[in-house]
Amino acid sequence: MTRLLALALVALALVGSAAAAGPPRQADLEAEIVCPTCHTTLDQSSSPIATRMKEFIRARIAAGASASQIKAQLVAQFGPGVLAEPPKHGFDLLAWLLPLGALAVGVVVVGALAWTWSRRRGGDAETGDGALDPDLERRVDEELARFED
């Protein structure tokens, strides 16, 4: 049984790696590359340069190039701005880190506010004994007595 399970895991790993090493898909690359003139991804654009870039990608896939090779060739021609997602290294790493940092700060601020508010409400509940102000209590009694008369 253990041997069968191990064989199944190995088979799954092989299938997974074969899929990863397969040819890149045209549609995936068109969604990851930006048209330089219209600033949308290629799959959203039919401008002349977008059409030409789609042709280039098709030809490179047919020639056996990998996704990273095709992207590198497009970056060499049009600059890093052609990538829909900024690279995860160097200065461009900031584009990934800053939103995460902002999110972390937001979580801390909201958490601190929630904690402060919950403490204040708890404190109010603790200090309140439900007793009426003596003056108010006297007036309520007077009003009730008048009503009963």
Binding site: P36, T37, P48, I49, R52, F56, Q77, F78, G79, G81, V82, L113, T116, W117, R120
Partner: protein, 190 residues
Amino acid sequence: MTGRAKTVGQVVALAAVAGLLALLVWKLAFGNGSGAAGALAKGKHPVAPAFTLSRLDTADGKLSLASLKGKPVVVNFWASWCIPCKGEAPALQKAYEKYRAQGLTVLGIDAQDFRQDARHFAKRFGVTYPVVYDGSGSTLGKWGVTGFPETFFVDRSGRLVGERIQGGIDTARNKAAFARGIRLALGKAQ
């Protein structure tokens, strides 16, 4: 929340708003929204924005606009996929041949294009004037280029003269502006 924390929060929020407002004011006051073309349209003669780009016609050569200082230059932005660029290419080449003896240079800037496509284009249209390659379009914002083709005129002092021509220089509406731009760049007309 304590009174002190509340005050600090308000100060931080006010500082953030003030900072954003300052950025907006700075952008409005000093921002170069429409580049050199915008200044030219207002009747000014700004210095032509500098650039150094790789030449299309040589393997590793570079060309800077500064190296052409003292010469009148027609700067033409184009791309091989641009249809009006095909129409005007022969007229630009003809102008280069006609005025070269008077010191005028035509400088093509191929932008947002495949380098190889641009080389085919230049060969097909018999372009012999210098062409530089700006695949990322790094020059477009500074010059205020909004489409292709666009043509500018730089005089011997390195300032923009005439008007920015949008569209082919060979079209009926642009022919006169092109001729005037060349005269101004050569210093032959006011």
